[in-house]
C-alpha cells in the first residue's frame, strides 16, 4: 500500500458556527477551529456534543466536506446521535477528533476520475471533487437516490464536476439506479477511468463489479459502526475477499474495492 502524509488526529473542543438545514433530515454543520484542520478528501471526524452526558455514549463518524478554519459535515438524521447533531445550535460545543482514516488515493493526470455517489455518500466525493478542481481536473460525477430529495448538495457537486443524476422514482435525472449511468461513463473514459464511490453497500458492490469488468481501479469509502475511529476498539471490521478483516477506520475509510468481500 502507498504511504500517505497523514496528519495525526487531534481532539479539540470547538463551537458550531452554522447549521444549514436542507429539509428536515439533512443538515450541514460548520465548526470553527483555532488552527486550521489539515484534512484530505475522504477523511472523516468523530464528533460528539459536549453536553450529551452519558448517552449517546460514543461519538459519531462523519465525513468531512472540507477542512480548514471552518470544516463542515453533512448529517442525515437516522437515530439519536444524528438527531442530537441536527438539533444543535450555533455556539454549542462539540469535541471533534480529526482528521481520521485513509484518504482517497490521488488521481493521476492522465486518468478520468468518475465519482459515484449514493445518498449521503456524496460527502467524501464532494471533498474529492473540490480537491481535483484545485488540480485542474474536472471529474465526472454520478449521483443517485430514491427521489430528488435524497440528492442533497447536488448543486455544489455540479459546480465542480460533469454531474449526472439518477433517481429511482424519476423525479430528477434518469429514472433508475445510479449504476445504470456508470456503464456509459466507463465507456466514454475508454479504459482510462479511475472510479471513486461511496454510498449504500449494494450500490458500492455493483460499482466495484462494473469497474472490475472495465478493468479500471476503484476505491470505495467504507461505512460501518465505529466506537473509536482511530484503530483501537477493533469494532469496525469489514470482511476481506481472502478471509480476515480490514478495519474501516484505519485501513479505510477509503480503500481498494477489490479488497472487500461484497458477498458478506
Amino acid at each position: 500500500m502507498e504511504q500517505y502524509d497523514r496528519r495525526p488526529a487531534r481532539q479539540v473542543t470547538v463551537p458550531l458556527v452554522r447549521r444549514d438545514s436542507i429539509g428536515a433530515s439533512h443538515h450541514v454543520l460548520t465548526f470553527e477551529y483555532d488552527t486550521p484542520l489539515e484534512a484530505q478528501a475522504g477523511q472523516f471526524v468523530m464528533v460528539r456534543g459536549t453536553n450529551w452526558g452519558q448517552s449517546p455514549f460514543l461519538p459519531r463518524p462523519m465525513s468531512l466536506l472540507h477542512g480548514g478554519k471552518r470544516p463542515s459535515i453533512l448529517v442525515k438524521v437516522v437515530g439519536e446521535g444524528t438527531r442530537r447533531l441536527a438539533n444543535a445550535e450555533p455556539g454549542d460545543l462539540f469535541s471533534v477528533l480529526a482528521p481520521l482514516g485513509r484518504p482517497w488515493s490521488p488521481c493521476s493526470s492522465h486518468r478520468v476520475p468518475i465519482l459515484v455517489a449514493g445518498g449521503v455518500g456524496v460527502c467524501p466525493l464532494l471533498f474529492l471533487a473540490r480537491t481535483l478542481k484545485q488540480q485542474g481536473i474536472r471529474p465526472v460525477a454520478l449521483y443517485g437516490g430514491r427521489s430528488s430529495g435524497d440528492l442533497v448538495l447536488y448543486e455544489e457537486l455540479q459546480a465542480e464536476s460533469d454531474l449526472r443524476l439518477a433517481t429511482e422514482d424519476g423525479s430528477a435525472g434518469v429514472k433508475g439506479k445510479v449504476t445504470a449511468l456508470l456503464d456509459e461513463a466507463l465507456m466514454e473514459a475508454d479504459g482510462r477511468a479511475t472510479v471513486y464511490t461511496c454510498g449504500p453497500r449494494a450500490m458500492m458492490a455493483s460499482v466495484v463489479a462494473a469497474a472490475r469488468k472495465a478493468n479500471v481501479p476503484c476505491e470505495v469509502s467504507l461505512e460501518t459502526v465505529m466506537a473509536c475511529g482511530y484503530g483501537v476498539c477493533l469494532g469496525c471490521a469489514v470482511p476481506r475477499f481472502d478471509g480476515g478483516y480490514v478495519y474501516a477506520c484505519s485501513e479505510g475509510a477509503c480503500i481498494d474495492g477489490r479488497v472487500i468481500d461484497w458477498k458478506k
Binding site: A9, C228, V232, A237
Partner: protein, 302 residues
C-alpha cells in the same frame, strides 16, 4: 502531589491505568499524549497465535454504554514482542500484557514467551472474556479452574501476575480468593457483562455473535459493588475497572477499596480520557491535601 500506589511489589507512578482492549497496544496513543504518564497500560488481549476475531457487526451502542463481541482479535504474542514492545520500552511506558488462551498449556506458553522480554511490569491473565467459544469465561466462573490457570502462569513467569475477574462468576469473591491463594499478586475487576440486543425491525440480534460484553457507565455501579466485595475478601490489591469516565468515577472505586483503576470504553469517545481522569485525581488530592493511596478503601460505613 503524591499519586504513587503499590500493586504488590510493583510501584506505579499513579493509580490510572488503561483497560485491555480499549487502548490498542499503547503506541496508537503516542500522538495524543506521553503514554509514560500513565500508571500502566494493559494491552489488547494477546494469544499465542494471531486471531482475526469475530464477524461483524461486532459492536453496538446501548444506553450509557456499548456491547462488544470483538472475539479477541490480536496480532499474537510474537508480533507484540517484535513490533510493539520495543517502542513501548522506548517511550517509557509501564506495560502490562493481557493474556488470553483456551488451555492451561497455552497460558503457560504465553507467559514463558513474555518472560524472555524486558520492560514488562506485570502480566494480566484474562479468564473472563465472554466473546470466545473456548477458554475465557470457562476459567473465570470456576474457582478451581481459575486457580489452576493462575498457579500455572505464576510458575511460568518472573513477572507479577494479575488476574482479570469476570462479573459472571456465581460468587466473584470465591474466584478472587482462589486466585489469591494460587499466587496472584493483584486482581482486576471487572470484565464486561454479557448482554443481548435485538433489532426490532428485522427481529435479528444486533451483533453477529448474538451476545456481547456490556461496558461503559452502565456497568459502573455493579463494578464498584464487586470491587468492594472482593476487597473485603482478599488481602492482595484490587484494580477497579468498569465504566470509569471521570476522576469522580475513579475515586469511587478507590474509596470502595481499589488500589488503582483502569479506564476502558471511555478511551473510545475521547483518546485523552485517561489523562483527564489522572488530572482530576491529582486536583482532588491537592484539594483534599491527601495522597492518592489515602483514598483506598476509605468508604465510610456507619
Amino acid at each position: 502531589m503524591d499519586l504513587q500506589v503499590k500493586i504488590g511489589e510493583l510501584s506505579l507512578s499513579n493509580p490510572v491505568l488503561t483497560a485491555s482492549g480499549t487502548f490498542g497496544y499503547g503506541i496508537e496513543f503516542e500522538s495524543f499524549f506521553d503514554i509514560s504518564r500513565l500508571g500502566g497500560i494493559c494491552t489488547k488481549g494477546l494469544s499465542l497465535l494471531p486471531r482475526v476475531g469475530n464477524p461483524p457487526p461486532r459492536i453496538r451502542e446501548t444506553a450509557s454504554g456499548m456491547l462488544n463481541a470483538i472475539g479477541l482479535a490480536n496480532i499474537g504474542v510474537e508480533a507484540f514482542c517484535k513490533d510493539k514492545l520495543p517502542r513501548l520500552r522506548e517511550l517509557g511506558a509501564t506495560v502490562i500484557p493481557n493474556l488470553y488462551a483456551s488451555s492451561v498449556e497455552d497460558f503457560i506458553a504465553l507467559a514463558e514467551r513474555l518472560d524472555r522480554e524486558e520492560g514488562i511490569a506485570a502480566v494480566e491473565v484474562n479468564v473472563s472474556c465472554p466473546n470466545v467459544t473456548k477458554g475465557g469465561l470457562a476459567f473465570g466462573v470456576d474457582p478451581v479452574a481459575a486457580a489452576g490457570v493462575t498457579a500455572a502462569v505464576c510458575k511460568a513467569t518472573r513477572f507479577p501476575v494479575w488476574v482479570k475477574l469476570s462479573p459472571e462468576a456465581g460468587r466473584i469473591t470465591d474466584v478472587a480468593c482462589a486466585c489469591e491463594e494460587a499466587g496472584a499478586q493483584a486482581l482486576s475487576a471487572i470484565n464486561t457483562i454479557r448482554g443481548f440486543a435485538i433489532d426490532t425491525e428485522t427481529w435479528r440480534p444486533l451483533l453477529a455473535n448474538r451476545t456481547g460484553g456490556l461496558s461503559g457507565p452502565a456497568i459502573k455501579p455493579i463494578a464498584v459493588r464487586m470491587v468492594w466485595e472482593i476487597c473485603q475478601a482478599v488481602r492482595i490489591p484490587v484494580i477497579g475497572v468498569g465504566g470509569i469516565a471521570s476522576a469522580e468515577d475513579a475515586i469511587e472505586f478507590m474509596l470502595a477499596g481499589a488500589s488503582a483503576v483502569q479506564v476502558g470504553s471511555a478511551n473510545f469517545r475521547d483518546p485523552m480520557a485517561s489523562m483527564t481522569v489522572l488530572e482530576g485525581i491529582s486536583a482532588y488530592c491537592e484539594r483534599k491535601g491527601l495522597a492518592a493511596k489515602d483514598l483506598i478503601g476509605k468508604v465510610v460505613l456507619d
